[in-house]
């Protein structure tokens, strides 16, 4: 079972804070990898918020191929960040780790953002396919104001390897996952957090309904619903499908993955719609054991559980700084001076939503509605 830490704040954070919180849950991950996803970037990226950032890893040949491909596609490089790598035992260094900021191709500069998003998705998929056979290029995200770092190894050693402590890398949202590898072969594409067009999620636990969910998503005709090296990747895509493709409010993500029974829907004003959703989106129902932490393009973060709460998860903090973690000890590390009485341990019907910039924390219960805990 993986360990998860998400910190959302109204101030810029060093990703190290999330890594140290992960470290408190060390017995829950085996050092088989770490994924970091940063949103609302600061530092050298603060003035580049409108430009897409390509995050990934590549070999020397892969680098040449990426540059050529991007040039041919009309993207022009505007800025590049590279970690200052330090040799660390047990971490096998690859040729290049990068986050490249691009200008859109000329014919896309004036287009609406959804069209730009589709271009970015298609480009990322093309780059992924390009390096799939020989692992010469591995790309995690290509989107404005989002940066991803993933590598195999122990999270603490990896942060030393990437020099995160001294890095100027900062963001207002940090998602970090310490992997507990469930497969012998480690594939970086299987490493959470997963990201698609502004939506991200990371999950612990086994997705028992992976095959029918994957088959359903792959047959939606959405280009980005591919890969699935991890059974948890579908959680990010269900989120994207629910909110972006279908246009439903975020709360319905919970209603789709853990639908109420018809009798439980009785008290809901939208029960007629819920009944239709329950049948129409039946293949997207999960049965756990899973806890999902995610964010949406506006910077709201959330936590939900499977319908039996078979995985732990807690949320706590204060106005302006809130953490969503898989174990409470992570909270103690991330926000030690919070009011613990306000900590939330969401149950099976709950969805905890932290508004952008951690202004407010609200718990939405599928059956009984809203409760505000921090504002």
């Amino acid at each position: 079972m993986c360990r998860l830490v998400a910190i959302t704040s109204n101030e810029y954070l060093n990703p190290m804070e999330a890594v140290l919180a992960l470290e408190t849950m060390h017995e829950g991950h085996d050092g088989s990898g770490m994924g970091l996803l940063l949103k609302n970037l600061g530092g050298e990226f603060s003035d580049l918020k409108d430009y897409p950032i390509l995050s990934g890893i590549c070999s020397n040949e892969g680098l040449r191929a990426i540059d050529q491909f991007m040039w041919d596609a009309g993207f022009r490089i505007k800025h590049e960040w590279r970690p200052v790598l330090k040799p660390v035992a047990d971490i096998r260094r690859r040729d290049h780790y990068f986050a490249k900021v691009y200008e859109y191709p000329d014919d896309y500069k004036e287009r609406p953002f959804p069209e730009k998003e589709d271009l970015l998705l298609r480009t990322r998929l093309a780059l992924r396919i390009m390096g799939e056979d020989d692992q010469s290029t591995i790309v995690f995200s290509f989107y404005p104001d989002v940066l991803a770092i993933k590598e195999v190894g122990d999270p603490l050693r990896l942060s030393e390897f990437f020099g995160l402590n001294d890095s100027r890398l900062k963001s207002k949202i940090v998602f970090a996952q310490g992997r507990q590898n469930t497969n012998y072969d480690i594939n970086l594409y299987a490493c959470h957090p997963f990201f698609i067009q502004g939506f991200a999620s990371m999950t612990n636990g086994e997705n028992t309904a992976f095959v029918p969910i994957k088959e359903y998503l792959m047959s939606r005709g959405v280009p980005g619903y591919v890969g699935y090296n991890s059974d948890s990747e579908v959680f990010a895509h269900i989120l994207h499908f629910t909110v972006r493709q279908l246009g439903y409010p975020l709360l319905y993500y919970k209603d789709i993955i853990t639908p109420l029974t018809p009798s439980e829907m009785e008290g809901r004003l939208d029960r007629e719609a819920l009944l239709l959703l329950k049948s129409s989106l039946r293949p997207l129902c999960i049965d756990g054991p899973n806890m999902v932490i995610g964010f949406t393009p506006d910077g709201a973060c959330f936590m939900v559980h499977d319908s039996k709460k078979l995985r732990p998860g807690s949320v706590g903090g204060m106005k302006g700084r809130v953490a969503l973690v898989s174990e409470e000890c992570g909270l103690d590390s991330a926000i030690p001076d919070r009011d613990r009485s306000l900590d939330i341990f969401p149950m099976k019907y709950d969805m905890v939503i932290v508004s952008p910039r951690a202004e407010e924390v609200r718990v939405w219960n599928q059956r009984y509605g809203w409760t505000t805990t921090i504002s």
Binding site: P212, Y248, P259, T261, S279, P283, S307, K308
Partner: protein, 553 residues
């Protein structure tokens, strides 16, 4: 000089030619006559034999020959009076003096065509080998990487949908104040969808079944719905249902079948204005897995007064339904019209779906139905389904196994992204070896949304003698020794409908527990594991490859 006893018995059969040889023990028999009275085919009869006895009484051997006439039970060697192996004789014998024994060297099929009439019978495919479903096992068990669910303590909800399910992009929804609401401005056909238990009782008509059997099934499912809160439904088969039931609130637990003979539909159509509730669904039968290419058949001896009245036909005549609907011209046109007409009859409030026999052309049917928004499901009946009457050759040598048929159709739906839109209903051979829940669960994982069972219920709830060794299989002649498939009061009074109902309830409660036991370690509790093929493996490599699942050994 020629012997007075002819030794030339050519053109006669011996009991060795018959599939079952009656083993009668003279020493245990008290000659009560129950066995011969109960035999449905008169395969055994009371008879006499001349016995020669040599006795010696006294100190010195003084053998004396005496002859006496004794009464015996004799097995007939008339091919029309063959022993079916039903074992009704064994059942009624007070002294365990008689039982039929299977004869693997029999030559029954060489001879059972007297008068040029091929062998007809009831029952199922006579193939005792395990079906493909019985080669499947559930191999993905959550244990240490993740906790398994507890079948006894966790909440489980085993339900499915019957009806055309719109894709999410077709739902008439709008967002109002951050909430989804029905967009009433969109005038789009909203297909009726029922939430039911995923194991149903398949179509068995009120003419094929005895009144007591049918009543027992109907009471059983009503109890399951009203007391146990398990929405189990039952299909009627062709031939209508009693008018009082049509006009009762219990009609919602029944799927009415219309087949090519349209028997019973005068009464149904006339009752529509006075119905207080809608039926669960309408099944249009285009084919039956046990006898592909044949229509329904109710023999004259079963068309008694009650049946004749319900079906709207004269008494005592054969009722063969045509092999196809006479109005059927093409699936694109006539079938579509029939589905739409049936939907229209109930104001589009009732799901209407066709049932076909398993066939290599099932995908063509499926794809046509996908284009018909009124088609609520596709029911496919595999070759191991049962029937009340059919030609032996149809039952044994025609048809398509259900497992690969369902899998092909499901994967075709997946390819088109419509796997949740048109539910697939599987039947034919589920529970063949008693593993009804396991077979059903395997079919869900192969892609079925629901399954129907028929023979299993008859065997489990009413003690049907039939099996895959041609045991009994006389449903067609109206002489069912259990009283299940007969219209003779003398026979059907043997069956207590209350006991049948009790057993139906027990059977479904057992299925429910066993399904939980299967689903729990696989981590499925709130929705059916439809298409969860990674949880399923076959112990036969060819089956695994064909079904696109794992192979284990």
């Amino acid at each position: 000089m020629e012997s007075t006893v002819r030794l030339d018995h050519n053109h006669q059969l011996t009991v060795r030619d018959f599939p079952y040889i009656v083993k009668w023990r003279e020493d245990r028999c008290k000659r009560c006559g129950r066995c011969t009275a109960v035999c449905p085919t008169f395969a055994i009869e009371p008879s006499i034999a001349l016995q020669r006895e040599i006795r010696s009484e006294g100190i010195m051997p003084e053998p004396r020959v005496s002859r006496k006439i004794v009464t015996i039970v004799r097995q007939s060697t008339d091919i029309d009076r063959y022993c079916t192996g039903c074992g009704a004789c064994t059942l009624v014998c007070p002294n365990e003096a008689i039982e039929p024994e299977y004869n693997p060297q029999h030559k029954f099929l060489f001879h059972k065509n007297k008068g040029g009439h091929p062998y007809t019978r009831g029952g199922r495919r006579n193939d005792p080998n395990p079906s493909a479903l019985d080669h499947l096992k559930f191999t993905r068990i959550s244990m240490l990487t993740d906790p398994a669910l507890d079948a006894g303590r966790h909440e489980f909800r085993i339900r499915t949908y019957l009806g055309r399910i719109p894709s999410p992009t077709e739902l008439p929804l709008k967002v109002e104040n951050g909430r989804l609401e029905i967009n009433r401005a969109v005038s789009r056909f909203a297909p009726p969808v029922r939430e039911i238990y995923p194991v149903m009782i398949g179509s068995m008509s009120i003419g094929a079944l005895s009144p007591t059997m049918w009543e027992g099934l109907a009471m059983g499912i009503t109890y399951l719905n009203e007391v146990e809160k398990m929405p189990v439904v039952m299909a009627t088969g062709e031939g209508g249902i009693p008018p009082r039931l049509l006009k009762s609130r219990f009609i919602k637990y029944f799927i009415l079948q219309i087949a090519s003979g349209y028997f019973g539909w005068d009464e149904i159509v006339r009752a529509i204005p006075r119905m207080v509730d809608d039926p669960c669904a309408i099944e249009i039968k285009y084919g039956q897995g046990a006898k592909p290419g044949d229509g329904g058949l109710l023999m004259a001896n079963k068309v008694v007064r009650l049946i004749a009245e319900i079906r709207g036909v004269p008494q005592g005549i054969d009722l063969p339904s045509p092999p196809t609907h006479q109005t059927k011209y093409s699936i694109e046109e006539a079938v579509a019209k029939m589905i739409q007409s049936m939907a229209m009859a109930w104001g589009f409030r009732v799901p209407v779906f066709p049932k076909i026999s398993g066939t290599r052309t099932a995908k063509a049917v499926l794809n046509n139905l996908l284009r018909n928004p009124y088609a609520a499901a596709l029911s496919i009946d595999g070759e191991e389904g049962g029937t009340g009457a059919a030609y032996n050759v149809s039952m044994d040598k025609m048809g398509h196994p259900i497992a690969s048929n369902i899998r092909d159709c499901y994967l075709d739906l997946v390819r088109q992204g419509k796997q949740n839109e048109l539910p697939l209903i599987a039947s034919g051979g589920i529970g063949k070896r008693g593993n009804v829940a396991a077979n059903a669960a395997a079919l869900f994982m192969l892609g079925a949304s629901a399954v129907t069972i028929g023979k299993y219920v008859m065997q489990a709830a009413a003690g049907c003698f039939g099996d895959e060794m041609n045991r009994c299989d006389v449903c067609n002649i109206g002489k069912c020794p259990r009283g299940i498939t007969t219209q003779e009061p003398r026979l059907y009074r043997r069956l207590d409908p209350d006991k049948v109902a009790e057993r139906v309830v027990e059977v479904f409660k057992t299925i429910d527990v066993e399904l939980r036991k299967i689903f729990a370690p696989l981590g499925r509790s709130t929705e059916l594991p439809i298409g969860m093929s990674d949880a399923l493996c076959a112990d036969d490599a060819a089956i695994a490859e064909r079904l696109q699942i794992g192979y284990v050994c």
